[in-house]
Symmetry: C3
Subunit: 221 residues, 3 copies
C-alpha cells in the first residue's frame, strides 16, 4: 500500500508546475539515451536486436539499478510499458535513420545528453529520498541513475565505461543530485530545488565539455 | 503469503499434462546450459572453480535477473538448491569429460541449446505474467530468461555477448515468449499455448542456424 | 518488522565477545577492499571519481549482490551510510597516497586482503542463513560476498575476473563459508564457529599464495 502510494506520488516532483511536464521530460530523457544506445549499436555493426538491447539498457539501466537498490521492485520501467516502448522507438529511429542522426550537430547531441543526465540524476535522488534512503546515499543513487545505463552499455560492448575514464560526467550528476538532496533536507520548495539541481548538473557538464575539464589524476601517469 | 502461493502455482504451467514433466524439462534446460558453461570454461583454460562459476551463471543467470526485476525475491534458484546442484553437476561433467563432450555432434548440442532457450523463454514469460507484469514487458522478461545467462557469462569472459552480435538467437526467444503471452491473454488453454511457444522458438532458432539467417544490419558496414 | 529485527540481530554474529569488535572488523574489511579498488584505479590511470567508483564497487559490491539475492533490500550498504563513507575514505587515501600505499609490503596487503575475504565470506554465509536460505546456497552466498566486489571491479575494467582465472581465492571463501554453515547447522556456538570459518578461509588463502596452489585444470592446455 505504502509502496503504491510512493510510486503514485513520485511523478509529483514538479507537481506545482505540471505533472505532464515532468513525465514529458522523463520520457524525453529516455528517448535521448535510447537514441544514443541505438547509434552505438549501429556504429558497432550490431544488428537491429543489438540496437534494441543497447537502447533499452542505456535508457533504463540506471533507473533499474537504482530501483533494485532502494527496494522499488519491480522497477519503474518494468512496471510501466511506456518506458520500454520509448526506448525501442528511439532504437529503431537511431538504427534506420543512422545517417540522418549523424547529421545532427554533435554539440546538440551533447546538450540533449546533458539534459537527460541532469533529469535522471535529479529524479533519481528525489526518488531515493522518497524511499527513506540516507541523504549521502541518495546522492549516490542520483549519480547511478544518471550514469548507470551508459555504464552497463559499455560493459556489454566490452569497453571500460566512460564513467571510469574521462571527464566530469558522473561528477555533474552527483552535483545535481547533491543540490536536490540538500535543498529538500532544508525543506526548500520542490520545484525551484529540482530546477536548480537540473541546472547545476546541466551547466557543469556543458562547461566541462567546452573547457575540457578533468578530475585530478596522478602525476607521472 | 500471496508470494508463496504464486511460487507454488508456478510450476503448474503444464499441470494438465504433468508437473513432473515440466520440472524435468526445466532441470534439463539448466543442465544443458550448465554443460555449455563448463565447456566454455574448459576452452578458456579456466580452473574447476571457474567452470562451476560459469556453469552457474550461464544456467541460472537469466532466471535470476528476471526474478529480481519482477520482484520474485529471493530468485527461484536461490530458493531451491536443486537448480544450483544441477548446474554444478553439469559443470563437473563438462569439465572432466571435456574430450567426451566435444565428441557430441555440434548439431545435437545446438538442438539441445535451442530446446533450453525455448523452455526458458516460455517459462520466463509465463512467470512474468503470473507476477502481473505488463504483457509487452512479460515478452521481454521471457527473452531475458532465455539469453541473460549466456550474456553474463560472455561479460565475465570479457567478450561482447553473442546476443549483441550475430543471429536470431534472442529474436527466437522473444518470438516464443510472444506466442505464450498473446495466447494466454486470449485465454487459450495453457498446455497447447506453451507447446506452441516452445515450438516457435525452437524451430525459428534451428532454421536460422541452418539457413544462416541474420537480422538487418546497416548497409556499408 | 521481521526484516528490521533480522537486520538488528545480524551484527550479533560475535555478540558474546563484542558487537563493537565485529563492526570494527567488518569496517576494516570494507576499508581494505576499498584501498585495493583505489590502488587499481590509480594504476589504471583513472581519475579521482573512477577511484571512488572502483573502491565502492570492490568493497561493497559483493555484499550488495548477496543482499539483493537473499531479499535483504535495500542492501546493508545502501541502508547504512558508514559503509559508503569508509569506502570513499579508502579510495581517497589510496588515490592521493598512491606512492605511500605502494611501499606497504605486498605480503602485508595480501594478508589484509585475505582477512577481508575471510570476514566477508563468513558474515555473508551467516546472513544468508538468517534469511532462511538453504545451507548449500548459503555457502554460495558467502562466496559471492567475498569475491563479488572484486569480480564487478574486474568487469568494469574490461578484464576477465581473477575469480575465473587463477588460484584458490574463491575456494578459500567457499571453504570458510562452509565451515560456518555446517557449524551453525550442527548448533555449535556462534563465536567459535565464526572464528573457525574465518581462520580456515584466511589460512587456506595464505598457504595457497605461499605455495602457489591452483585448482585442477585440463591437461594439454
Amino acid at each position: 500500500m505504502t509502496t503504491i502510494r510512493r510510486v503514485l506520488s513520485y511523478p509529483a516532483l514538479l507537481r506545482p508546475t505540471s505533472d505532464t511536464l515532468l513525465l514529458a521530460v522523463d520520457f524525453l530523457g529516455t528517448l535521448v539515451f535510447a537514441i544514443e544506445g541505438g547509434v552505438a549499436a549501429a556504429r558497432g555493426n550490431l544488428d537491429l536486436l543489438g540496437a534494441l538491447v543497447l537502447a533499452f539498457v542505456t535508457a533504463l539501466g540506471g533507473g533499474i539499478i537504482r530501483d533494485v537498490l532502494i527496494g522499488a521492485i519491480p522497477p519503474n520501467s518494468i512496471r510501466d510499458w511506456r518506458y520500454g516502448a520509448i526506448a525501442f522507438f528511439g532504437a529503431i529511429v537511431a538504427f534506420f535513420m543512422h545517417s540522418l542522426v549523424l547529421e545532427i550537430p554533435a554539440s546538440f547531441l551533447t546538450m540533449l545528453d546533458a539534459a537527460g543526465l541532469a533529469l535522471f540524476a535529479v529524479a533519481g535522488a528525489e526518488k531515493a529520498l522518497n524511499y527513506k534512503i540516507h541523504p549521502f546515499l541518495a546522492i549516490l543513487m542520483g549519480g547511478i541513475t544518471g550514469v548507470g545505463g551508459g555504464t552497463v552499455r559499455d560493459v556489454l560492448l566490452a569497453q571500460v565505461p566512460t564513467v571510469l575514464r574521462a571527464d566530469v560526467y558522473a561528477t555533474a550528476a552527483l552535483a545535481g543530485a547533491a543540490v536536490v538532496v540538500i535543498g529538500l533536507r532544508l525543506k526548500l520548495p520542490r520545484t525551484p530545488v529540482a530546477i536548480c539541481g537540473i541546472s547545476v548538473c546541466f551547466l557543469l557538464r556543458m562547461v566541462s565539455v567546452w573547457r575540457h575539464w578533468n578530475l585530478p589524476r596522478l602525476a607521472g601517469h
